[in-house]
């Protein structure tokens, strides 16, 4: 057995490196000691013919007493050791966003924006993502509408059809301790009156008001139809609000 091992590992120099690389191990014997002339001088690539610059120190493997000893990397001044929030003067921002409780809904960020903005944009096709994926046609200049173009915006009298009425529903306004009332002209939904202090009353009134309005309008229409004095509305559906 020892003869087999000696034949394997005690082979000629040409074959020994092959064997070592095939097995994946380094040389079994320690490297021979370097000649004294080289050990005191750092490893240098001998200048080739035609090179005029100073000899370059190889940053990789160096023929030092320590194999694969490399130069230390240049240290960065800014590392994870530093508090980066302080470094970039973000303390105020951090206290503002993380110190206090940030409200969840979009309507808290944009309280003056009308409509139901807390619903996901995917539901009604108003998402910003869809705007990025399918950008609208741009490049044309905006020019005001002339008289001929404005004829396309002539509307029939009367309320909107029911299928379009939901677009104007406002979300229920929260109670505020400081009663700042922003007076807006003629909202389609009934605005809060000073008497509507209880949430139950508000809800009931809101639920009843559109229904009441519908009933009143229906009654009016019926009266108008049956009254002899009614001028008679032009031809088609009187209550449709479609464009001509």
């Amino acid at each position: 057995m020892t003869e087999i091992f000696s034949t394997l590992f005690g082979q000629t120099d040409a074959q020994a490196p092959q064997g070592s690389t095939a097995l994946g191990f380094g040389p079994g014997k320690p490297p021979p000691p370097l000649p004294q002339t080289q050990s005191s001088v750092p490893a240098q690539i001998p200048p080739q013919h035609g090179d005029e610059g100073p000899p370059v120190r190889k940053p990789g493997v160096m023929n030092e007493p320590f194999y694969l000893l490399r130069e230390l990397p240049v240290g960065n001044d800014l590392t994870g050791n530093t508090n980066l929030i302080t470094h970039y003067n973000l303390e105020h921002a951090y206290n503002k966003f993380c110190g206090k409780k940030v409200k969840e809904k979009l309507s808290n960020f944009l309280p003056e924006l009308p409509g139901m903005i807390d619903c996901p944009g995917v539901q009604d096709g108003s998402s910003l993502r869809s705007l990025i994926e399918k950008p609208p046609v741009c490049g044309n200049s905006f020019s005001p509408l002339t008289g001929a173009l404005l004829t396309g915006f002539r509307l029939h009298t009367g309320p909107l059809p029911e299928q379009y009425r939901l677009m104007h529903i406002q979300p229920p306004k929260k109670k505020s301790k400081h009663k700042h009332r922003h007076h807006r002209p003629q909202d389609p939904m009934p605005p809060e009156t000073p008497s509507d202090s209880d949430p139950k009353k508000k809800k009931k009134k809101r639920d009843d008001d559109p229904e009441r309005k519908k009933k009143k309008k229906d009654k009016k229409k019926k009266k108008n139809r049956h009254s002899p004095d009614h001028p008679g509305i032009t031809g088609t559906q009187p209550n449709s609000n479609s464009l001509r």
């Binding site: 007493p65 320590f66 994870g80 921002a93 409200k103 924006l113 996901p120 309320p159 909107l160």
Partner: protein, 134 residues
Amino acid sequence: MAEKFDNLEEHLEKFIENIRQMGIIVSDFQPSSQTGLNQKLNFMITGLQDIEKCRQQLHDIHVPLEAFEYIDQGRNPQLYTKECLERALAKNEQVKGKIDTITKFKSLLITELGKVFPEEMAKYKAIHGDDPPS
């Protein structure tokens, strides 16, 4: 910088208010409202022109797409900023912990190697010099 945003915000608020008023007019249209509606339509176009002018001042402003996802979900985009800051701080602390641990390990290793291989460590220190405390 803030003036550019204030300018745009003002134009957007006016535009939205104009659209809202148009919605009120249209919700229960009367023949006498036609001229008002036409006026509002032209206000809408001038509003778009004003917003278009603001665009040139803000061409260098970049908004992260992740903030858009918050808006599309009906959530406050300030939550995105909050989460960014929290994640940055957490990562900062994590990396600082790693640096501290590895620094301690290095000093322990050098100490122990100095006990076992004093000559080699002396040569190593001669090459690299005394490592500065990190």
